[in-house]
C-alpha cells in the first residue's frame, strides 16, 4: 500500500500504457510512459466531457474521476474508470451511442469534413 495516498498497489492491467511497450522499454522509458499517460487522460476526458465529468492523473498510477457536482472516485484501471464515470454522472456510457459519437466528431471536426465529402 502507498503510505501517502493509502492506495493498494496493483499488478499491471492490459489498459495500462506500459502494457504495449516491448518488455525492455517498460523499465527504462519513464518519459514515454508519462507522455502516453497524458494522451490517455486527454482521450478519456473527451468522453467524460459529454457526461459532465472529468479525470485527473494521480501520480501516473490512479485516476481521479470528478463530476460537476464534486462527486469523486479514485480508480486504478480503465474498466474501473468507466464504472466510476457512470457512477458519478449517473448515466450509462455507450461508445456506440450516436449522440456521444456526434460530440466526439464535433470536437475534432471530423463530422464537418465527413459531411463535405458526402
Amino acid at each position: 500500500m502507498c503510505g501517502l495516498c493509502g492506495l493498494w498497489g496493483e499488478t499491471a492491467h492490459w489498459t495500462s500504457v506500459a502494457s504495449a511497450l516491448p518488455g525492455g522499454q517498460q523499465a527504462t522509458d519513464r518519459d514515454g510512459l508519462l507522455r502516453a499517460r497524458q494522451v490517455q487522460r486527454h482521450s478519456i476526458n473527451r468522453v467524460c466531457r459529454a457526461f459532465g465529468t472529468s479525470i485527473a492523473d494521480w501520480n501516473a498510477t490512479s485516476w481521479i474521476v470528478t463530476s460537476a457536482s464534486g462527486a469523486t472516485e479514485i480508480v486504478g484501471s480503465l474498466p474501473e474508470l468507466w464504472r466510476a464515470v457512470e457512477s458519478v454522472s449517473k448515466r450509462a456510457i455507450d461508445p456506440l451511442d450516436a449522440a456521444l459519437l456526434d460530440a466526439l466528431e464535433r470536437q475534432c471536426g471530423t463530422r464537418d469534413s465527413q459531411a463535405q465529402r458526402d
Partner: protein, 359 residues
Amino acid sequence: MTDTRLPVLVVSGFLGSGKTTLLREALHDPRWQRSLVIVNEAAELGIDDQLLRPAAGTPVRLLQNGCLCCAVQSDLKRTLLETVDDPALTPRVDRIVIETSGLADPVSVIASLSAHPRLSGRLRLQAVVTTVDALHAEVQLDESQEFTAQVQCADMLILTKQDVAVAEQVERVARLLRSMNPMAAIVGRNDGIVDELLHASSRFTTERFASQWLASTVADPVGDGYVRLSPLAGVHGRNRHTRGVVAFAVTAKRRVDWVLFSTWLSLLVHAHGQRLLRIKGLLEVADDEPPIVVNVVRHVVHFPEHLAEPPFDRCGSCLVFLVRDLEPADIRRSLSAFVGECFTTTCQSSAMTLDAAGH
C-alpha cells in the same frame, strides 16, 4: 524480452465429442510427455483421469463434481497456483493442458487465467481447441448454449467422428462452424492431429494463427481510407445458429495509437462485452516494432503481446470481429471517432474516409 510463462492449452468440446480420446492419442506421443494435464468432470465420480493416466506418464489432476466454469472454478485456480509454485514440478513441465467438462463455458477458464494476477504472470493461455462431433453437431448446436460458446471462443475446431458421418454432413457442419467462428482453424481428426495440437500448444501459435486471421479477411477491401470495413471471405449467409451474429474485419493502413485504441476497446468491452463474441487481430503501432496481437473473448481481453516475428510483410492493422446484435458500421464509426485523425501523433491520415464494404 523472452516470454517465459508456461503455455496453457484448453481442450473444450461438448459431451462425447472426443476430447479425452484426442488427448489420450496426443499423450502417447513422446513430445507430449512433459505436459501437466488437468481434467474436469461434471460428474461426482470422474473416470477421464483414469483413462488418461496410463497414457500420459505425466501428472494428471482431476477436478470433479462440477464444471470448471462455475462449481470448481476456485479448485482450478488452486490447482494452477499449486503447480506454478511447485519448484519440483515446474522444471518437468513444458505445458499445461486443461480438459474442460463437456458442459463448461471456456470463457470462465480464460478469465481465470487472464484476471488472476499471479496466474497471468506465470501462465500464458496459448489456445482454445474445441472438438466437434461431426455426427451430432447440428443437433447439439440447436440444443446447447454451452456448445455454441465452446465453438465461438475456439482458436481451433477439430472435427471428430468424420468416419461415421456422411461426407455431405461433414461439409455442412464445417460450413456451419465457419459461419459461427470464421477466425478458427477447422481441422479434421486425422493422422496429423497430434502435430496440429502440438502447434496449437507451442509458442508459435500466435504467429501461425495471425496468418490465418488475415487469410480469413478480404485481401484488398475497396478504398484508401484510414479505417475500413470488410465482409469476411467464406462466410456465407446466416442461419439459425448465427442469428444476430455478424462477422467483419476492420483494417487500417496506417499505424494505430495503442493508447487510444485500448481506451476505446476498454469502453467497448465495458458497455458491450457480452455481445463481443470474439475480436482477434493485429495492430501496427510503430514502424520499428512488431505488431501487437489483440484477442478478446466477450469481457475477457488477453494481455496485449508483440509478435516475435511478423508472419508476413507489413500490411497494416487488421481486426476481425464476431459480434451479436451490434452494427459493424457503428463499431467502425466509434473506432474512428476514438482513434482517428484528431490524434495525429501516429495516424497521419488527412481524412477518415470510411468505406463500408458491406456487413
